[in-house]
């Protein structure tokens, strides 16, 4: 296996090489979308946050935007602001500049309207794309890989095959010095003490327990017991008996690999190994968290067939349901149903998935990319929308 990535000035390697068009507030999404249509090689990274937040969310949105901009798949970043938003353009600009990649900004109020901003921004983006196109992939170590993971449209096959296979990749990747980011606090719920046992530092384990407690208490604040929200009638019909069982099946995406740290939403890990980030299960915010964490791609397990990707990172769809692989094959990148039928070991399927992931990191396209099923994302906020 060889990884060919786009070298970045801060030593990271990108799996993709686009100019990111990043609104710092949802109000100017249209500007990014217009520029994306005009200029090849750009990607709009639209969302609906950036204003009317309590301070903790302004901080979280700022951190996430900065770290998304630092993601090695972005060759350069064009920030787009309105001019009156809570997220401060200078903070995002300075944050991304730490990575030494090209980053510029346009503001709609300053330039006097959308058409003026699109015109100026498109010219800037065109120059950035030309420079980005000169960067060539280089062969580099697998230790420079960062994978994140998530499950979506799960069924009973997820905990029996695809999640275990991703767990095997986590084991292989971290053994050779790579980085693995897992999250989905709602799915951790019930399995937080099992994860705590895997933490190299008990304080990090306490943080993971705290993530679950926080979710539980926020649920109670709106009259919901989030333990009950997690177990569906379908889960029980499918054979899942308790929330702990469900959580352990979800947590299997990291197997028994030691956990180095617990990360805030959108925070970058301080070193290699396995990390747990406070991401929700909801895909739009979840994938953004992993991308902000610096992942080049996501290993996305599915049982019934979740089609979505993400604008910043390719999503490798891993499915262990033989029927779904037939009916939803146009959205699935790798079939691991052989594991269920005992025709292939988890280790063998893990090796196959790892090889595919390295190929994707080196340029092979995923189904979600080919189908353009990867334009939407969101940033997690915790507080009320004002």
């Amino acid at each position: 296996m060889e990884f060919y990535g786009f070298p970045r000035p801060d030593g990271q390697y990108g799996a993709r090489n686009f100019v990111a068009l990043m609104p710092i507030v949802g109000c100017v999404n249209a500007v990014a979308l217009h520029i994306e249509k005009l200029i090849r090689g750009t990607r709009s990274i639209t969302h609906h946050q950036g204003c009317l937040h309590p301070p903790l969310d302004t901080e979280q949105v700022t951190r996430t935007l900065v770290n998304l901009g630092k993601n090695p798949n972005c060759a350069a970043v064009l920030l787009i602001g309105l001019g009156c938003e809570m997220v401060k353009l200078e903070e995002v600009l300075e944050g991304i500049r730490e990575s030494k990649k090209p980053v510029e900004a346009v503001m709609v109020h300053e330039l006097g309207g959308m058409l003026e901003t699109v015109s100026k921004g498109a010219q800037m983006a065109a120059d950035m794309v030309l420079e980005a196109s000169k960067i060539r992939r280089e062969k580099t170590g697998l230790n420079n890989l960062v994978f994140c993971t998530k499950c979506g449209s799960s069924d009973t096959t997820s905990g029996l095959s695809s999640n275990l296979v991703v767990g095997e990749v986590c084991r292989m990747l971290t053994e050779i010095g790579g980085t693995f980011i897992q999250g989905e606090v709602c799915d951790i719920m019930g399995g937080e003490y099992a994860l705590k046992e895997l933490c190299v530092n008990p304080e990090e384990g306490d943080k993971i327990v705290g993530f679950v407690k926080d979710l539980y208490e926020r649920g109670l604040a709106v009259g919901a017991d989030t333990r009950g929200c997690q177990m569906t009638a379908g889960n029980v019909a499918g054979g899942l008996t308790t929330l702990v069982e469900k959580a352990l099946g979800a947590n299997a995406k990291g197997q028994m690999v030691p956990i180095q740290s617990a990360l805030l939403y959108g925070e970058r890990p301080g070193g290699p190994g396995r990390h747990i980030m406070a991401t929700p299960g909801h895909g739009f915010e979840n994938l953004t968290g992993g991308a902000a964490g610096g992942a080049q791609l996501i290993l996305f397990t599915t049982g019934r067939g979740a089609p979505n990707g993400h604008p910043v990172i390719p999503a490798v769809k891993v499915c262990g349901n033989a029927k779904t692989n037939l009916t939803m094959g146009s959205h699935i990148d790798i079939d691991v149903s052989s594991v269920i039928e005992e025709a292939e070991s988890i280790q063998q399927a893990g090796q196959r998935l790892f090889e595919l992931a390295v190929d994707v990191a080196s340029g092979r396209l995923t189904k979600a990319e080919i189908l353009n099923f990867d334009s939407q994302m969101e940033i997690l906020i915790k507080g009320p929308v004002m």
Binding site: T156, T157, L160, G239, T241, V244, I340
Partner: protein
């Protein structure tokens, strides 16, 4: 006839997960390390549901993925279907 399997996830688990629709009195196989062991099912166990491969007394721990997933609410025999009718959820957010 095609062999029916149930999956053991971690060696010390006391339940396995059916990966076929197993009927009452059916014989099913479990791969344990590099050996294959045969059990008989006491109930109809649909795909994805659990079967005990050890005796679990009332109040005993149900172990899957190497962790306690619940507590036996009645005595459970080898080959019994294991689900909400004989397992209590003991999870609390602490």
């Amino acid at each position: 006839m095609k062999k029916k399997y149930a999956k053991l996830i971690v060696p010390n688990d006391n339940v396995v997960t059916s990966v076929a629709d197993i009927d009452e009195n059916d014989v099913f196989n479990v791969i344990i390390g590099d050996r294959e062991k045969t059990f008989a099912s006491n109930h109809n166990v649909p795909f994805g549901h659990k079967i005990a491969i050890q005796e679990i007394k009332k109040g005993g721990e149900i172990v899957k993925y190497g962790h306690v997933i619940g507590i036996a609410s009645i005595d459970i025999k080898v080959g019994d279907w294991v689900h909400i009718h004989n397992v209590m959820d003991n999870y609390e957010v602490r």
